[in-house]
């Protein structure tokens, strides 16, 4: 247990033909098939893929923690040459946390809510090394400052819920590093975090490899993060690795149609949207027990060849002249990517029409009652939470206006006021020329309600599980008075299903028989049932898999352009926003900090927050270079926002006292492009673009 770890020169981790299965009542379900990986000292390997591809199962198998119903059915996991399957429970225990450590997806859930962070940290060295409480405390506290946490003493003494999500994740990382492990497994460590917080964690992960010489396995669904953290990458699809190689090999010279498709599905800010349209992968991920014979990607692949691709026994083939670059495809050498021009989605140019929606100084304050003794003494029991402060913006027919911001920026409140679930505290909301700021939804006429509808975020929640798809659509049609006759309603339901490209028999299905993407399509159909002039889409694709995202996004844009609908697109995904929005509104703590056309917002002059957001977005493009801006500190609470400019506590370009005391003036470099900042416009204009292309953009397909 104690003492220095023995030196070892071979690969830290080897997976050889690893096969993992879960055993359920329905029988054996293979989760990972024929998985190979060699990880050397100090190296980082990424596992990337969509949900259900088996990437997390691999991590759990390395830890030998597959639960009661999972097990290794073939192959080996060798840690420093030792077969993990042959370890006794006691040997395994000594390995866990000491030699192999893990960082998890949800930091809040992975910390024990009823123990102080200090106790949880100190456990690790106390359990693995022969040291006393005092030394363990010092070690833990030193490690906390190593992961850039301010005031380690305080962090040690508090409970998990008392620190922010980003800080929690830093604590988990510190916990993993405490025993100086040789191997660190990171399972989607930033998925639950805001993008600017994510950037800080990614920077820290980058430093770990240098500081501690730790080997890492980084699991993510986000290609951009893999690019920023790893040297090598394994692309997984439905339980198998379809392509593996160094990051540059896979990102620049990908060979597998799935890898190619995956890159086609993500909007890259480096590329022009008309030159590089999004290309969705058709179909959907197969369920583990419904995988097709031969190549699992076959049914979704444009190069599928019956009789060839559906033969069993498909192995990895080596790409010549690129040792370590392997592809699991029978036809990869036959495919000529230069002639492959798939049909992209939407994004055709269209002329914006008249103003449909216009907000003037809209404010939404919530009252909260403070019951603390101090508040009672001061007599200030009621405080106002400024969820939305002075929101002014316009949206025209056929235009897509994106509202961008992190959690707590007031996006959801904004949507609620528009939809009439809340009334505005002040200001006006002109919709088709009528002020609806004070009208709750019950007070609006059916036409008014039908004219503004919403697409929701969570596909598993957006449809009522108790009713069929058809009856839910029919209800909307009847409610908005589009049709009242039974047959006509039915016909309209069918039209809507056609519109969102779903088979008509889906009308009789229940939501649980649909996949996430299909449910989201029904959600879109529902929003368009009343022929709306405006649709508010609240993160409509963020919960979907990458390959499905592109298709749903394309569909939404398509319908919008066809019906000349105004789309208010609420999102945190700047790449996507850049791809589909005409105008962008950046919000921070309930205020608009910048707004303008997409090109204006995405190039200098920027608001410093916009600049930081842009820098934080992970981009899966090796040719892009970014200025690295990491925001310090936590996101302030909405209930107690900073005075002056709300961004002053985290602003890397803060001028000084003026930012803390005075509300910032609004610069308008071009009509319609507004930036609320104290920094003089000239200075803002001098800032270099955050994202730049290192070299001329080469087509990734070119060999």
């Amino acid at each position: 247990m104690a003492g220095p770890k023995e030196s070892y020169s071979g690969p830290i981790l080897e997976c050889r033909n690893l096969c993992l299965s879960y055993f359920t009542r329905a029988g054996e379900i293979p989760a990972v098939i024929d998985f190979n990986m060699t990880l050397n000292q100090g190296e980082s390997i990424g596992l990337v893929g969509e949900s259900g591809c088996g990437k997390s199962t691999v991590a759990m198998a390395i830890m030998r923690y597959l639960g009661n119903n999972g097990s290794i059915v073939g192959g080996q996991v060798l840690y420093k040459g030792r077969d993990m399957a042959k370890l006794s429970p006691e040997e395994l225990r000594q390995l866990r946390g000491n030699e192999i450590a893990m960082v998890y997806q949800e930091p809040m859930a992975s910390l024990n809510p009823s123990m102080t962070l200090g106790q949880q940290l100190m456990e690790v060295p106390l359990c693995h090394e022969n040291i006393g409480e005092k030394e363990a405390y010092e070690r833990a506290s030193r490690m906390l400052s190593d992961v850039n946490l301010p005031d380690p003493e305080r962090i040690m003494s508090v409970y998990p819920h008392q620190v922010s999500g980003g800080q929690q994740q830093r604590v988990v990382i510190a916990m993993a590093l405490l025993s100086n492990p040789s191997l660190l497994l990171l399972d989607e460590p930033t998925t639950a975090l805001d993008v600017t917080v994510e950037a800080g964690i990614i920077e820290l992960i980058g430093q770990i490899a240098e500081k501690f010489n730790t080997s890492m396995v980084y699991i993510s669904h986000n290609l951009g993060l893999i690019l920023e953290t790893c040297q090598r990458v394994n692309v997984m699809y439905s339980g198998v690795v379809v392509e593996s190689g160094s990051v540059t090999e896979v990102f620049d010279r990908m060979q597998h149609p799935y890898t190619k498709g995956l890159f086609g599905c993500i909007p890259l800010p480096g590329a022009d949207k008309s030159a590089r349209p999004l290309v969705p992968i058709r179909g959907q991920l197969p369920l583990p027990h419904q995988r097709p014979p031969g190549c699992y990607f076959g049914p979704r692949c444009d190069f599928f060849q019956a009789g060839n691709c559906d033969r069993e026994g498909l192995g990895m083939s080596q790409v010549p002249n690129e040792p370590g670059h392997e592809v699991r495809c029978r036809r990869w050498q036959e495919i000529d990517w230069s002639t492959y021009k798939p049909v992209g989605v939407g994004a055709g140019e269209s002329q914006a029409g008249e103003v449909v929606l216009s907000l003037n100084n809209m404010k939404k304050y919530y009252e909260i009652t403070d019951n603390s003794v101090a508040a009672m003494i001061r007599g200030k029991r009621v405080r106002h939470v400024k969820a939305n402060e002075s929101i002014s913006l316009e949206a025209r027919a056929c235009e897509t206006v994106a509202i961008v911001g992190e959690s707590g920026c007031g996006k959801s409140t904004f949507a609620k006021v528009l939809m009439g679930l809340e009334t505005a505290t002040d200001g006006e909301v002109l919709f088709n020329g009528k002020d609806i700021a004070q009208d709750q939804v019950q007070k609006r006429s059916p036409e008014q309600v039908g004219a503004m509808q919403m697409v929701f975020q969570n596909p598993f929640d957006t449809l009522n599980p108790s009713h069929t798809v058809g009856s839910q659509l029919a209800r909307v049609i009847r409610k908005f008075g589009v049709e009242s006759d039974g047959d006509k309603i039915e016909r309209r339901v069918m039209e809507l299903l056609d519109l969102v490209k779903l088979p008509r028999e889906f009308a009789r299905r229940r939501p649980r028989q649909l996949s996430g993407g299909q449910k989201q399509r029904v959600g879109i159909a529902r929003a368009f049932a009343g022929n709306p002039s405006t649709v508010v889409a609240d993160e409509p694709v963020s919960a979907l898999d990458v390959s499905v995202q592109a298709a749903v996004t394309g569909l939404l844009m398509d319908i919008q352009k066809t019906y000349r609908t105004t789309l208010i697109f609420i999102s945190h995904d700047l790449s996507l926003v850049r791809y589909l929005a005409d105008r962008v509104v950046v919000m921070y703590l309930g205020r608009i900090v910048e707004q303008g056309t997409t090109d204006e917002v995405f190039s200098p002059p920027y608001h410093p927050y916009t600049e930081a957001l842009l820098s934080a977005v992970p981009i899966a493009d090796t040719s892009v270079e970014k200025t690295r801006i990491i925001l310090e500190g936590n996101l302030p609470s909405v209930t107690n926002p900073p005075s002056g400019c709300v961004f002053n506590t985290r602003c890397p370009r803060k001028l000084g006292a003026v930012c803390e005391t005075e509300a910032p003036p609004v610069h308008e470099p071009v009509a319609g492009h507004r930036i609320a900042c104290h920094i003089p416009l000239a200075e803002l204009q001098a800032i270099k673009p955050v994202i730049s292309l290192a070299a001329a953009p080469e087509s990734p397909a070119a060999e």
């Binding site: 509808q453 929640d461 957006t462 009522n464 409610k479 039915e490 009789r508």
Partner: protein, 295 residues
């Protein structure tokens, strides 16, 4: 598939779905046993007149042991007779009618009152919630039997009054459960969707929310049925139950207690009857929960 063929939702499929839901119980042996016991007692209650060898209130040889012959020797008292010479088996068989009538009736009434209250409290929140929750707390702070004793002592013992008392005492508990479920379900996006299209609150509560709360409520109803059976039995045991002479399991135990030291069988058989029925409901509830957690 033609457009006409794709009807919104054929009526009969609702029945079909219920049957399928019931069939799921087959996957849990615990639930199957529970369902079996309940079916056994239901059939007993329905066919009591055919099954019982004697009329329930007919007297014969008092305190006969199980297996003893009847007065005229023509039949056998399989479970013996009570202190008045009434056949225990026949009384237990007929007693199942009482309990299987009043327990479901009382539970149904309690749900009928409790569900709307819970929906209103959970969905409307605010003052409605505060008032309803406070009243529920007041009633729930009575130890249940104390409440029953006070109510029955005030309004007298009868079948209707038992139903009333059970409704009064259980509705607050049901309200709390429904409220909790609604508090969770009201934040679902399909509820927001209904709100954004201006649906009326009661439609949202009854059509959008309630159907999705049915799983936990069915399990709770089973448990509650078992508990109401216990309550009716206990009230009978305390002499506050259904008035004599018609057989009631709790009352049978109460009447024969004085002789329990010498002839315990007179009390034991009704006790076994009531315990088995409660066990049936509890096992069914457990089975349903197990099945519902599976998917």
């Amino acid at each position: 598939m033609t457009e006409q063929a794709i009807a919104m939702q054929p009526r009969e499929s609702r029945v079909l779905r219920f049957a399928k839901g019931l069939a799921l119980i087959r996957e849990s042996w615990v639930g199957m046993i529970g369902l079996g016991i309940i079916l056994f007692w239901s059939l007993t209650a329905i066919f009591a007149d055919v099954l019982a060898p004697f009329p329930p209130n007919a007297t014969g040889i008092p305190m006969a042991l199980p297996g003893g012959a009847s007065l005229d020797g023509s039949a056998i008292h399989y479970l013996g007779t009570d202190q008045l010479g009434r056949d225990l088996l026949s009384r237990i068989i007929h007693g199942s009618r009482q309990v299987l009538l009043y327990a479901p009736l009382a539970t149904f009434c309690a749900y009928f009152v409790g569900i709307p209250m819970g929906l209103a409290a959970g969905y409307r929140r605010g003052l409605t919630d505060d008032v309803l929750s406070f009243l529920a707390n007041v009633i729930l702070s009575f130890p249940v039997l104390v409440l029953y004793i006070i109510i029955i002592a005030t309004i007298g013992a009868s079948g209707t009054n038992i139903v009333l008392a059970v409704t009064f005492a259980s509705a607050p508990g049901i309200m709390r459960i429904v409220r909790g479920l609604v508090l969770d379900l009201r934040n679902r996006e399909y509820v927001f969707a209904a709100e954004t299209r201006g649906e009326s609150p009661w439609r949202i509560m009854l059509v959008e929310i309630l159907p999705n709360a049915r799983g936990p409520l069915i399990v709770d109803a089973c448990l509650r049925l078992g508990y109401v059976v216990i309550t009716i039995g206990t009230l009978g045991f305390l002499g506050l139950g259904l008035p004599p002479p018609d057989p009631d399991w709790g009352g049978m135990v109460s009447e024969t207690r004085a002789y329990a030291m010498m002839l315990p069988h007179m009390a034991i058989f009704p006790c076994i009857a009531i315990s088995s029925l409660v066990l049936g409901f509890n096992l069914l509830a457990d089975g349903l929960r197990e099945v519902s957690l599976r998917d």
